[in-house]
């Protein structure tokens, strides 16, 4: 399924101005065809960082009924400030959903940077074995960090930095993962400009999660596997998001009950 999705995704990429013909089947079995015109991304573009190319950047934050939702299309530094402001504004009784579905990664330093807004102690999101020596992904707790429950959504399109953040927060006991197994493409890499101007991306080490799980090739398995069916898509149901929301509501309900019990016994 993951390979099929990746293949379909790759076939949908085409130069701006060209047309892509697609064919599909509805949940009721009806065949259909359509043509998509490839247009430039009209939203925000992340600024290139050295050899790292500019990418379309989308991020979304919202808070309703004590459930905060944060979605990031790619790890680009331009998103850091609004995300930080959003996280800092959450209250102790809130729950947080981080949606990394379809996020292919980006600037790796953002993963420990975001984790710093979710932790109250110094730790590491994982370790990288280099040709010589090794590195961690150190996390430094930030003042005003959100310490409430966190649900994190992943799927086959979640790769690289998304997987480092997901596996790290899960292994550190800081998040529960929902959705589908991630891409398993997490090796830290660099870009080199070749003489013809092309970029050559190459891995510089092997990464493992805080509990020593290798991410490359295997991906990150969710704690609760929740797939997306054609019927769900047709009816606008987001089953992984619904599962994460239900889990958070249950957690927050339990915590509220426990805090009320605790308050009663202390008075």
């Amino acid at each position: 399924m993951r390979q099929l999705l990746a293949l379909a995704g790759a076939r949908l990429q085409a130069p701006v101005g060209t047309t892509v013909r697609i064919a599909g089947v509805t949940p009721t079995g009806e065949r259909w065809q359509s043509e998509l015109a490839c247009e430039p991304h009209r939203g925000e573009w992340a600024e290139p960082i050295g050899n790292y190319p500019s990418l379309p950047l989308e991020w979304e934050t919202r808070l309703a009924d004590g459930i905060a939702y944060l979605r990031l299309s790619v790890f680009a530094p331009a998103a850091m400030r609004p995300l930080r402001t959003f996280l800092r504004g959450l209250k102790a009784g809130d729950g947080l959903i981080i949606d990394l579905r379809g996020n292919p990664g980006g600037i790796t330093a953002m993963a420990p940077g975001l984790a710093g807004w979710l932790m109250d102690r110094e730790t590491s999101l994982g370790s990288v074995r280099l040709r010589r020596g090794g590195m961690g992904y150190p996390v430094y707790p930030q003042e005003g960090a959100f310490l409430g429950p966190v649900a994190l959504l992943i799927d086959g399109g979640s790769a690289s930095t998304s997987e480092i953040l997901a596996a790290g927060l899960r292994d550190l006991g800081r998040a529960r993962l929902f959705g589908e197994r991630s891409a398993g493409a997490a090796l830290p890499s660099l870009f080199k400009t070749l003489p013809n101007g092309d970029l050559f991306q190459y891995a510089i080490g092997d990464i493992r999660s805080p509990r020593g799980q290798s991410l490359e090739g295997t991906g990150v398995a969710p704690d609760e596997a929740v797939g997306r069916t054609a019927a769900d898509l047709a009816s606008g149901v987001d089953a992984p998001l619904a599962a994460a929301t239900a889990w958070l509501r249950s957690r927050l309900g339990n915590e509220n009950r426990e805090s009320k019990r605790g308050g009663g016994s202390g008075s």
């Binding site: 992340a46 600024e47 290139p48 960082i49 050295g50 050899n51 790292y52 530094p77 850091m80 400030r81 930080r84 600037i107 330093a109 953002m110 420990p112 940077g113 710093g116 807004w117 590491s124 994982g126 370790s127 990288v128 280099l130 040709r131 010589r132 020596g133 090794g134 590195m135 961690g136 992904y137 150190p138 430094y140 930030q142 003042e143 830290p188 660099l190 870009f191 080199k192 400009t193 510089i204 080490g205």
Partner: protein, 452 residues
């Protein structure tokens, strides 16, 4: 002086209040507070043999285990104290690293380790000072006041208390075991009657007929240091030269000192370096792996304060600083983080403004031979201080310049990475010679910095 007299007066006043309220228990009921204190102190001197002749006791030899807080493996140590200033402290840390500290005469304090080489210091280390206090707690020599204070009860036991005041020193409260006469606790008190330092003595055992504490605890809580004596002997007979490094070792150390002095001279010399008390440098940084080039401004103030401000395209601004005590970093991606340990040491060393103090800052040195660096023959020294090792430093044999540092750095989590920094393009600025280019090689990336 007025404050000192006032503090002493406070102790006497406290004693007088107590005397008026209720006489302390025990045989020392009559007399003035000073006379009653003397009775307690005399009992202690007899119990712990404090009036023995010097030659009856020294040199003393003790094997100890030193631990911090509640947990953690203990450091093993052997301390030989001549009683006349000379000493030798041999330490084996839990990680297996062994080193020794010794001194034969005031002003010459040596450090030696199998792995780090020989070091020369201007004073004794904290550990030596603790070891000296661990077995003997003599009364201050120039005692100003000594008064009997109210008894103190703890855990169902009562202790006799004597307040002492030495010239130019804070007040101390000394707790004595009324049954054995031993000194069990020394509290140092500030002007607000708060305990600033506490030493507790316990596990008394007889050595040559007198009682000695075999367990001494300095401080309280997780920071406390406990020294447990495993074996103790008086009148140890050290072989000749025991407290001195060999002449060959001293000669080796002197050669490292000459190399570092030549480096100071090549950098402009003591006089010129001492005149530079602040500097602002504009630097261009190129991270070759990431294809990223940006500029930073480094502001420095003697001795080693710094603030660097960088503006990275696509990433944002980032700051790093050190105010003499705390190293810190703030960046758009990672937020605030502390800079400490080896990373801080590397920052301080690279940006060191008071280069004239370079030899003093790295008193522990090991010669690692001669090797070629970028076509130049260099003398390689491993430099360290008591806090940490700082890696291999290659000094140009001809010019004296520092051409390369090779170090292994903490890289987050349990990671460590080898790093090599090459210095080149030396130019003179205000009589001081600086490298205008550094090339940092890291397993994951290479960075070139150029002074603009």
């Amino acid at each position: 002086m007025n404050r000192l007299v006032a503090t002493a007066a406070a102790v006497i006043a406290l004693a007088a209040e107590t005397a008026a309220a209720e006489p302390p228990a025990g045989a020392d009921v009559g007399g003035t507070p000073a006379e009653r204190a003397r009775i307690v102190v005399q009992r202690w001197e007899e119990a712990q043999g404090m009036r023995r002749a010097h030659a009856e006791v020294f040199p003393r030899d003790a094997a100890c285990e030193i631990s911090t807080g509640d947990n953690g493996p203990a450091i093993k140590a052997r301390f030989i104290d001549s009683g006349a200033g000379a000493y030798a402290l041999l330490v084996q840390r839990p990680d297996g690293w062994r080193y020794g500290e010794f001194s034969a005469q005031p002003g010459e304090y040596w450090f030696v380790s199998d792995t780090l080489g020989l070091g020369r210091f201007s004073g004794t280390s904290d550990l030596v000072n603790l070891m000296r206090q661990a077995r003997v707690a003599r009364l201050p020599g120039k005692l100003m006041e000594q008064v009997r204070l109210p008894d103190f009860a703890r855990d169902g036991r009562t202790f006799h208390v004597v307040g002492t005041k030495e010239v130019a020193q804070p007040v101390q409260f000394r707790l004595f075991d009324p049954e054995r006469g031993t000194l069990v606790q020394v509290d140092t008190i500030n002007d607000r009657r708060q305990v600033t330092e506490r030493i507790r003595y316990g596990d008394f055992r007889a050595v040559d007929g007198v009682l000695e504490p075999f367990e001494t605890v300095f401080g309280e809580g997780p920071q406390r240091v406990t020294i447990r004596t495993v074996k103790a002997a008086n009148r140890f007979a050290p072989p000749p030269g025991f407290f001195k490094p060999s002449s060959a070792q001293v000669s080796l150390w002197q050669r490292t000192e000459d190399i570092l002095k030549k480096y100071v001279a090549a950098s402009g010399g003591y006089a010129a370096l001492a005149q530079i008390v602040s500097r602002v440098t504009r630097i261009e940084v190129t991270n070759e792996g990431a294809g990223l080039t940006y500029q930073l401004t480094l502001s420095q103030k003697a001795p080693d304060f710094f603030l660097s401000e960088a503006d990275m395209p696509g990433v944002g601004r980032a700051w790093q600083g050190f105010d003499g005590q705390t190293g810190w970093s703030y960046g758009e991606l990672q937020g605030f983080r502390p800079i400490r340990g080896e990373e801080l040491e590397l920052f301080r060393r690279n940006g060191m403004l008071d280069l004239e103090n370079f030899p003093k800052r790295f008193p522990i040195r090991r010669s690692a031979g001669v090797k070629e660096v970028n076509g130049r023959r260099t003398a390689v020294l491993e430099l360290a201080n008591l806090l940490q090792r700082t890696g291999l430093h290659s000094f140009d044999l001809e010019t004296g310049q520092l051409l390369r540092i090779e170090a292994e750095l903490d890289a987050g989590g349990e990671g460590r990475v080898p790093v090599t920094i090459d210095f080149s393009d030396f130019r003179a600025v205000d009589g001081v010679t600086l490298p205008f280019r550094t090339d940092l090689r890291h397993p994951a990336f290479n960075t070139v910095t150029r002074v603009l």
